[in-house]
């Protein structure tokens, strides 16, 4: 896609690392606003970095609640997160050539 992802996206990707979360779960974990979380999720979905999966209806029925939609990292998402981490580390260490989140011309 040729773009660095923003801090919000990195936050959400990091939240999803190694676990699957539904929307409200992400909102709780990141303290981001609902509008921000959903908009970012849609963008990440469109870029193939995360994917949504419906919970098994049987599980939901068993817990007597509506089924949830869980988000998980895709392999591309995991890779992007690793790149972003490295960049962030560079920024913190003062080695960054470009600020985080700025579009890269490529």
């Amino acid at each position: 896609m040729g773009r660095f992802i923003g801090v919000t996206s990195i936050t959400i990707l990091a939240t999803l690392e190694g676990r699957r979360c539904y929307g409200l779960d992400i909102i709780d974990r990141t303290a981001l606003l609902a509008g921000t979380v959903y908009t970012t999720l849609r963008r990440l979905e469109a870029r193939g970095l995360v994917t949504g999966q419906w919970e098994d209806a049987v599980v939901a029925e068993a817990e007597r609640r509506p089924r949830r939609r869980y988000y998980v990292l895709t392999p591309a998402g995991a890779e992007e997160l690793a790149v972003a981490r490295a960049r962030l580390a560079g920024v913190v260490a003062g080695r960054a050539e470009e600020p985080v989140g700025k579009p890269r011309s490529a």
């Binding site: 539904y22 929307g23 849609r42 999966q53 089924r67 949830r68």
Partner: protein, 914 residues
């Protein structure tokens, strides 16, 4: 993407409280923003989360925050949906559809362009002239300060300021940050070539800094020009004057001008957008120059009230605090300046008005707002008409919409498609409208500023045509207007088209639409036509009201003969007087010269009706009114005239004689009164032969003997209340300014040339000004009501045309739609007249409904036009009947043509169309 279908049943229960119910409703509303393909999935996902929020023990706030966040997200999704290439597709499709019916597209564009153009042009004038004065920074803090004088509190009226009083105002009133005085006058510029009359403002040095006007070159007036007992002979020139006289040379600063024979040094050039407080000013001179330009004592006499004052409020001060301060100042000045003889009982006060309010003549403001209202009405009609046209097209396109819907087009997509078409039409119309407005605004500005004049006594300019133009505010207005119009006439068909139910629409025939005969779509169209009829009725009756006013105005008796009367003014300069020219002798000599001009029947000097120069003063005593004391004295208009004045103007003599050639400098002082004055000062009759004293230098001490009584003649504005008048001999009481009136059949231009020659032969430095035939002078006074009348008439005619077009369209549409039914009726033996009546009935019902609404509107408008129309005559039944009849006839004619077509339907063809 990747969405599995949600499973059918859910084993969960929702809490039943109100907050939850409402949250779910809001959630569902937000979901409408999501593109249809993903809407269901999103809704399910969000509901699951909302369920968790509402079943958990967290209160209402998190759910509210959640919904607010989702709304923002929904809007983002909606915007994303629009961004797709479907927009390009929509536009391409709309352009194709529109070019397929070029007649419709052209008519719509023209209608929109003219109405948006006219509204925009008028808005531009209003924005610059009525709502703000862009020339002066923080103009909301500028105020006009008037003194008030009168014999009773009820008769107190505004008066000008004298220099001593102005100084008191500047020093003693703390609510005002600064004050400035100004007075407009004309002076004669006489250094190169022909003497030219220039517009001059005498100003206090404080005026320009107070207004915020900075010099373009050089400086403005400063402390050097403050009055210190000697006149400061310096001048500022306008940007235009600098260009034309000095060719834009920087050497203009320090050049010398000869004004009224006096040499004045130019110290600065003012910026192009400032042409004076009074407008059209070429040169500014400091007030202290009045010591030599004006009458002696101009600056010392506290009762020589000759200029206007504008002030700037301190940021923390209000009009109320200022008013209070002014009241106490007026009281102090009352003690400080003992009144001249005869004015001792004058009550004094002061009042203040915001500059913005004072700047506009209330009549002009009302006229312009009335015009703006009328233009917006026409725009509304054009929109209604277009909505009707688009609906008619939409009705025939229901099938198209249905086909597209059945092929899977989303409802939102269909709405968007129709909206795109309307918006494209509006856009083209809007752009053309802005172009038209750009062309029309200067024309309109010149027209209006000529027609509406300045604000009477205060001489404030309210409209500088040069400052008008299309700026960003105006463009923004046009854009908003265009968008509103586009959405307004696009929304109805969009909604109608998107409602199309594929199965029903596909089932009905090509020439039929949904709904039964008179309900459904045609009802919407009929309503629109009725509204248009009503609006046209309002506009036409408005024009009628204005026309009545004009007619009344033209029938007002003037008291003099307006035909073949040449009028002009001239003024001798103080320098002439200093050079030994005696005004009385000069006037007499000049009159002899013009009387010798071939083709001149009568010639006289004196005040030109509606042209000036005007003098009023107090009657001090009268032999016919021993009770007349200084406390009860009254104003009289003083008219210094030459012999033969009554004959030349055609003013009727009631008794005695007029001023004649025997009233010389050394003979007895005489006065001729008009009937009103004679009744006032000699109520028992027998005025002739008795004496009257007037506060006018020559007539103050001894008074003058009344030798004649005339009928009243209207010297001021047409329709103004009659005034007491006293004619005196121009030889016995001469002034430097006077008017020339010549009764002749020769043309004005021709006479002007000869009279100018005669004047130049006597004194090359004196210019003839304000040259006009009396008819033109009267016409210029009626210009404002004529502009409003003409505009309302034009808008009314456009409205009439729109009504006709709209009705024609509706009826034609109905006939086409009912071809089958009408054909069937005819084939079953229905009379032609029955069928005709059937069709016409619709248009008659609609027209009558519209007329009913229109009469109500007209009555409201007549109220609004009070004060704009002359004479304030009430709206009569005839005034309402005439436009009603015209509208009715037009409506009938518009319906007749398509109705006739219904008769020619061949039953066989009609039945075969299916």
């Amino acid at each position: 993407m990747r969405d599995a279908d949600p499973p059918g049943g859910h084993g969960h229960l929702w809490p039943t409280d109100g907050a939850t119910r409402w949250s779910r409703r809001v959630l569902r509303a937000i979901a409408w923003l999501i593109p249809a393909g993903r809407r269901e999935a999103c809704l399910e996902e969000w509901e699951a989360e909302l369920w968790q929020l509402r079943t958990g023990d967290v209160g209402v706030a998190p759910a509210a925050a959640f919904l607010a966040g989702l709304t923002i997200h929904g809007l983002w999704e909606w915007k994303e949906g629009w961004r797709m290439e479907s927009i390009v597709q929509d536009v391409r499709f709309a352009v194709r559809t529109l070019t397929r019916s070029p007649g419709f597209a052209l008519a719509a564009t023209l209608m929109l362009a003219t109405s948006i153009g006219a509204s925009t042009a008028l808005f531009s004038v209003l924005e610059k002239a009525v709502w703000a004065d862009p020339r002066f920074p923080e103009s909301e803090r500028l105020v006009v300060v008037d003194q008030l004088f009168g014999q009773t509190p009820e008769t107190m009226g505004p008066a000008r300021w004298s220099y001593p009083r102005f100084r008191d105002l500047a020093e003693e009133v703390t609510s005002l940050q600064s004050v400035g005085g100004y007075r407009a006058r004309t002076m004669t510029l006489s250094e190169m070539g022909d003497p030219a009359v220039v517009s001059v403002e005498t100003i206090t040095p404080s005026l320009l800094p107070m207004l915020g006007v900075r010099p373009y070159l050089g400086r403005t007036f400063g402390p050097e020009e403050e009055d210190d007992g000697t006149p400061a002979m310096r001048a500022l020139v306008s940007h235009g004057f600098w260009q034309s006289r000095f060719g834009g040379s920087p050497n203009a600063v320090s050049a010398v001008l000869t004004l009224d024979g006096l040499r004045m040094q130019v110290v600065g050039v003012l910026p192009a957008d400032f042409d004076g407080i009074t407008g059209g000013v070429d040169i500014w001179v400091p007030m202290s120059a009045l010591r030599i330009i004006g009458d002696p004592g101009y600056l010392e006499d506290a009762w020589n009230l000759h200029f206007q004052v504008i002030g700037r409020l301190r940021p923390e001060a209000t009009l109320e605090t200022l008013r209070g301060e002014l009241q106490s100042l007026a009281a102090r000045m009352g003690d400080r300046y003992p009144a001249p003889e005869g004015a001792s009982r004058l009550l004094a006060g002061a009042d203040v008005l915001s500059y913005r309010e004072a700047r506009i003549n209330p009549l002009a403001r009302a006229s312009m707002l009335a015009l703006f209202g009328a233009v917006l009405l026409v725009l509304l009609m054009a929109t209604a008409n277009l909505a009707g046209l688009v609906m008619a097209r939409g009705a025939t396109r229901v099938r198209e919409a249905a086909v597209r819907a059945s092929l899977g087009a989303a409802r939102s997509r269909l709405v968007r498609q129709f909206m795109t078409e309307s918006l494209i039409l509006a856009l083209v119309g809007g752009v053309a409208g802005i172009a038209l407005a750009g062309f029309g605004v200067n024309l309109l500005g010149t027209w209006l500023s000529n027609a509406l004049g300045t604000t009477g006594g205060r001489e404030l300019q309210y409209l500088n045509p040069a400052a008008l133009g299309i700026d960003w505010t105006v463009v923004a207005f046009a854009c908003i207007l265009t968008a509103c119009v586009g959405v307004a006439f696009g929304l109805v068909p969009a909604w109608q088209g998107s409602r199309a139910d594929p199965t029903t629409a596909m089932r009905v025939g090509r020439t039929q639409t949904l709904g039964n005969r008179w309900s459904g779509l045609p009802l919407g169209r009929n309503g629109l036509i009725a509204v248009q009829v009503a609006l046209a009725m309002v506009l036409l009756s408005g024009a009628t009201v204005m026309m009545n006013g004009l007619r009344t105005m033209q029938e007002v008796p003037l008291g003099y003969d307006r035909e073949n009367l040449f009028t002009a003014l001239y003024t001798l300069s103080p320098a002439d007087e200093l050079a030994g020219i005696d005004p009385g002798g000069f006037h007499t000599g000049f009159l002899e010269r013009i009387r010798a001009i071939p083709g001149v029947d009568h010639a006289t000097l004196g005040e030109v009706p509606m042209g000036g120069p005007t003098w009023r003063n107090l009657v001090l005593s009268s032999e016919g009114r021993p009770d007349l004391t200084p406390a009860t004295h009254s104003w009289v208009r003083i008219l210094p005239v030459a012999d033969g004045h009554l004959e030349a103007l055609g003013i009727e003599l009631v008794a005695g004689r007029g001023i004649d050639a025997t009233d010389e400098v050394n003979s007895e002082l005489v006065v001729v009164l008009n009937e009103l004055a004679a009744q006032e000062y000699f109520p028992d009759g027998g005025a002739i032969g008795r004496r009257i004293r007037i506060a006018w230098p020559e007539l103050e001490v001894e008074g003058a003997r009344v030798v004649g009584i005339t009928k009243d003649a209207q010297m001021g504005e047409v329709g103004a209340p009659a005034e007491r008048q006293a004619y005196v001999s121009i030889r016995q009481a001469p002034r430097r300014s006077t008017g020339v009136m010549i009764r002749s059949t020769r043309s004005t231009a021709d006479l002007a040339r000869v009279v100018r020659g005669a004047l130049a032969a006597m004194n090359p430095n004196t210019a003839l000004t304000s040259v006009m035939s009396m008819e033109d002078r009267l016409a210029s006074v009626t210009a404002r009501p004529r502009v409003v009348t003409a505009a309302l008439g034009i808008f009314g005619s456009v409205a009439l045309f729109l009504v006709a077009a709209g009705l024609y369209g509706t009826i034609a549409f109905t006939v086409v739609r009912r071809t089958r039914e009408l054909g069937l009726r005819l084939s079953l033996g229905a009379e032609g007249s029955t069928v005709l009546g059937l069709v016409l009935r619709q248009s008659l019902a609609v027209t009558l409904l519209g007329l009913g609404l229109g009469v109500a509107g007209a009555l409201i408008l007549a109220r609004a036009l009070e004060g704009v129309a002359f004479g304030n005559e009430p709206l009569t039944l005839v005034d309402l009947l005439v436009p009603s009849a015209v509208l009715f006839a037009v409506a009938l004619a518009a319906a007749w043509i398509p109705a006739r077509r219904a008769l020619s339907i061949d039953p066989m063809v009609a039945l075969r169309t299916e």
